[in-house]
């Protein structure tokens, strides 16, 4: 279906206008000391928070639509979808009725989602140790660097080594602050420059796909 010219117009220009106002407000409040500029920036921040809050509902609505459709069509694993839907609705009612800060809600949350999540994280140790046996094998110079770096971080943080060799703490701190951080910063800087370029492309309407803001 072709989009009406009014919607296209709004989509073309309103989105870019909001982006420009939001960005300029944030930048201006950073560079200028002015109560008026701060007030605009604060208002834009509050809008941002409200929109962010709205995305929670977008996720909820999307899941409900997809699961309802899946249940109706009896797709593979539809009983899980039904279970998920019942759980979502039940959880929302419980939260609304009892309050997020009630002891009952807290116990329900800790006993289910949190316990399961912690269990999954705990299981990672089993796989990590098992994988270390198979993967950390020194075959070439490259695997030697990888293996020794990994072992260095394990050993330098181990309490039994720190007890007899307290300088290990300083060595690991140096490793993190220098070789490790150099690579990390390079990635961050690259991402930052990429973000600026993406912003410029968005404002100029050059971006395609999910981020496009024009019909061109």
């Amino acid at each position: 279906m072709k989009m009406s010219s009014t919607i296209t117009y709004v989509r073309n220009y309103l989105a870019r206008f909001l982006l420009i106002v939001g960005l300029l407000a944030a930048l201006a409040s950073w560079y200028f000391v002015s109560p008026q500029v701060d007030a605009v920036a604060n208002t834009m921040n509050l809008w941002n928070m409200n929109i962010y809050n709205f995305t929670l509902f977008v996720g909820l609505i999307t899941i409900v639509i997809r699961y309802s459709d899946g249940i109706r069509k009896r797709v593979k694993n539809w009983p899980y979808m039904a279970y998920g839907l019942v759980l979502i609705v039940g959880w929302i009612i419980m939260g609304e009725y009892l309050g997020l800060y009630s002891d009952f809600y807290q116990s329900a949350y800790l006993s289910t989602k949190i316990t399961l999540h912690i269990a999954i994280l705990g299981q990672l140790v089993f796989f990590l140790v098992s994988a270390s046996y198979r993967v950390v094998r020194i075959r070439t110079l490259r695997t030697a660097v990888f293996g020794l770096s990994m072992m260095a971080m394990v050993v330098l943080n181990a309490p039994w080594l720190l007890g007899v060799f307290p300088a290990a703490d300083k060595i690991s701190y140096w490793l993190l602050n220098n070789p490790s951080m150099a690579g990390g910063r390079a990635l961050l800087l690259t991402g930052g420059i990429g973000g600026v370029i993406l912003g410029i492309r968005l404002l100029l309407g050059l971006e395609r796909g999910a981020l496009k803001s024009t019909e061109r």
Binding site: D38, A41, N42, N45, L46, N48, M49, I51, Y52, N53, L56, G99, L100, Y101, Q106, Y109, L110, K113, I114, H117, I118, I120, L121, V125, F126, V129, S130, S132, Y133, R134, V136, R137, I138, R139, G147, M151, M153, V154, V155, N157, A158, P159, W160, L162, G163, P166, D169, Y173, L176, N177, S180, M181, G184
Partner: protein, 275 residues
């Protein structure tokens, strides 16, 4: 000599035995004290009565559980100093996490402590929109978060009459993963001192912040840092329990890696013999 290959099931069994040993027979593993942990203890210890400390940040409860080893004794220390505490959750689950640490610390009146809700401490509900929410919160708390987790308006909460913006914050404690946001906006922009009870995995990425902001940013390191903080507060808890397991497991990991390499070498030798 041919070394038999360790099946993964055997390795899982070894890890399970280590876990069970640590739980059933706590070995009381010794660990060294860190200068930075002592510094954190002194920073909190130097707070004046009535100063406002924000405990806030974002992300998953399960990840942040590691931070609670230090956060729980630190809350008790805050109560000893009579500092006022504001919990600011910037992720959905952070509300539940903050309730957990507050209950575990036992400082609130409901748990038999002395801290009165609304006067000595306040819990906000989920504040959406990191990092914009952080900026809004620091600039104007009452606009960004008009009510607490119960829906009580800020102007009806006694503590909130003294808390309006970043200017009123004496210290920010982050027991959540999102410490970069705290440093970026609270410390870098407004000079608020910040403490991070870091998860070990996060510590490796965020520790250079201590180099970037000396005397403004401090971090403990995982469960080890938690155990150190517990020791400073003359208590034991999650940190000590975890360090018992880590003490043995970190040694086992080294042995496992050596065995893996011995296995590789023995297989290589066998191949060469066949040739």
């Amino acid at each position: 000599m041919r070394i038999p290959e360790l099946k993964r099931q055997y390795i899982w069994g070894i890890v399970l035995i280590v876990y069970l040993t640590a739980v059933l027979v706590p070995i009381g593993a010794p660990f060294p004290m860190s200068d930075i942990t002592v510094e954190i203890y002194n920073v909190i210890g130097s707070l004046k009565p009535g100063q406002i400390v924000v405990v806030g940040g974002a992300w998953d409860f399960a990840f942040d559980l590691e931070s609670s080893a230090a956060m729980i004794p630190a809350l008790r220390q805050l109560a000893d100093r009579h500092a006022r505490i504001v919990f600011a959750p910037f992720a959905v689950e952070s509300v539940q996490y903050q309730k957990y640490v507050m209950q575990a610390s036992g400082i609130a009146e409901e748990q038999g402590g002395t801290y009165k809700y609304g006067v000595d401490w306040v819990q906000f509900g989920y504040i959406p929109g990191l990092p914009a929410a952080m900026v809004g919160f620091l600039n104007d708390v009452h606009s960004a978060v008009p009510a607490d987790v119960y829906g009580t308006p800020d102007d009806k909460i006694p503590l909130m009459n003294d808390f309006h913006s970043w200017k009123d914050i004496a210290l920010w404690i982050c027991p959540h993963w999102s410490f970069d946001v705290v440093v970026r906006y609270a410390t870098a922009e407004h000079g608020i001192p910040a403490i991070y009870f870091a998860q070990a995995a996060a510590y490796s990425g965020y520790s250079p912040f201590m180099m970037a902001y000396p005397d403004k940013v401090w971090m403990t390191n995982g469960f080890l840092g938690g155990a150190q903080y517990e020791q400073l507060m003359n208590t034991t808890g999650l940190g000590h329990a975890a360090i018992n397991a880590y003490y043995i497991l970190s040694a086992v990991l080294v042995v496992i890696v050596i065995l893996g390499n011995v296995d590789m070498i023995s297989k290589r030798e066998k191949k060469e013999e066949k040739k």
